[in-house]
Amino acid sequence: MTDYKDIEILKLFQTEGQKERAFLLLVEKYQKRLYWHVRKIVIIHEDADDVIQNVFIKVWKNLEGFKSNAQLYTWLYKIATNEALSLLKTKKKNSIVHYEEFLGNSLSGDEYFNGDEIEIRLQKAILSLPERQRLVFNMRYFEELKYEEIAEILDLSVGALKASYYHARKKIEEFFKDG
């Protein structure tokens, strides 16, 4: 499949009769990146699946008004992050137990989790972090996004992000030392 540039997809989306094709190209181009980003936030596959569908429904509704001078993928990441955090908030509100702890404990029995014992511990350590540090750590460590890109997605300064990442790493190391 030809990898279309964002600008080409946007132009195609605005062409009469090509909206659906452009949208499918966009989904195919970004679905994996966005899914894994969301999955690391919500942990459970079924939740990530719901979130990713809502993300693309929003994209479909708002893509026409998207300003092409902004980066398309940062806009998509923004929507995905907000949707994932919103779902997490609802889940936490409805949970009678500490939700992050529940998520960490559910990993060992999760058929969609391949990690060994040390990876389960790493996920538990990440889940114990404050929300912002957790987001920054995942985006920097696993997704290897640049600080500038993360800054644009989370509307934060690069300096604040670097501090968050540093603290997140320190806390994870502490978590392993204590455990």
Binding site: F23, V27, E28, W36, I52, F56, I118, E119, L122, E173
Partner: protein, 146 residues
């Protein structure tokens, strides 16, 4: 400064999460279905909101009309100089402040209608009857005198 004992040196930087093999192959179609079903649901919700808006507008207009009518009635009553103090209120007021009014003022302000005339006549008849009874004048004597 690099920490040589860091746990991050021992960790594999791999994604431990997974999905079924066909998940991403079928996801675009699934998303497209969700998009269309969300598009179909939206007009229904919009219609409901629109209907609700119309109903609220009708209710507001109706209430507005009632309010305007009430204001109109109040305005005309004021213009015609109607007395808004009820009869009972007036009696209560006068009874409470009896000392403020002399007898002549009260009598002057008592509205005299047909009923009041009848009452006055009744009182006069009663005093005549009691005079006749006191004086022991019977009916026959009365007729003979006439």
């Amino acid at each position: 400064m690099v920490n040589k004992d860091s746990i991050f040196d021992k960790l594999k930087k791999e994604n431990p999460f997974r999905v079924t093999d066909q998940y991403f192959d079928s996801l675009p179609e699934k998303i497209l279905e969700s998009v269309y079903s969300a598009d179909n649901q939206e007009p229904a919700n919009k219609n409901k909101m629109l209907r609700l808006k119309h109903l609220l507008a009708y209710a507001a207009s109706f209430l507005g009309l009632i309010f305007l009518s009430y204001l109109g009635i109040q305005y005309f009553r004021l213009k015609q100089g109607h007395n808004y103090i009820s009869k009972n209120d007036a009696i209560e007021y006068v009874s409470f402040y009896t000392s403020d009014f002399d007898e002549a003022t009260i009598l002057e302000n008592i509205p005299i209608g047909k009923n009041e005339n009848i009452s006055a006549n009744d009182a006069e008849s009663e005093s005549i009857i009691s005079y006749l009874v006191d004086e022991g004048i019977d009916e026959l004597t009365l007729y003979s005198e006439l």
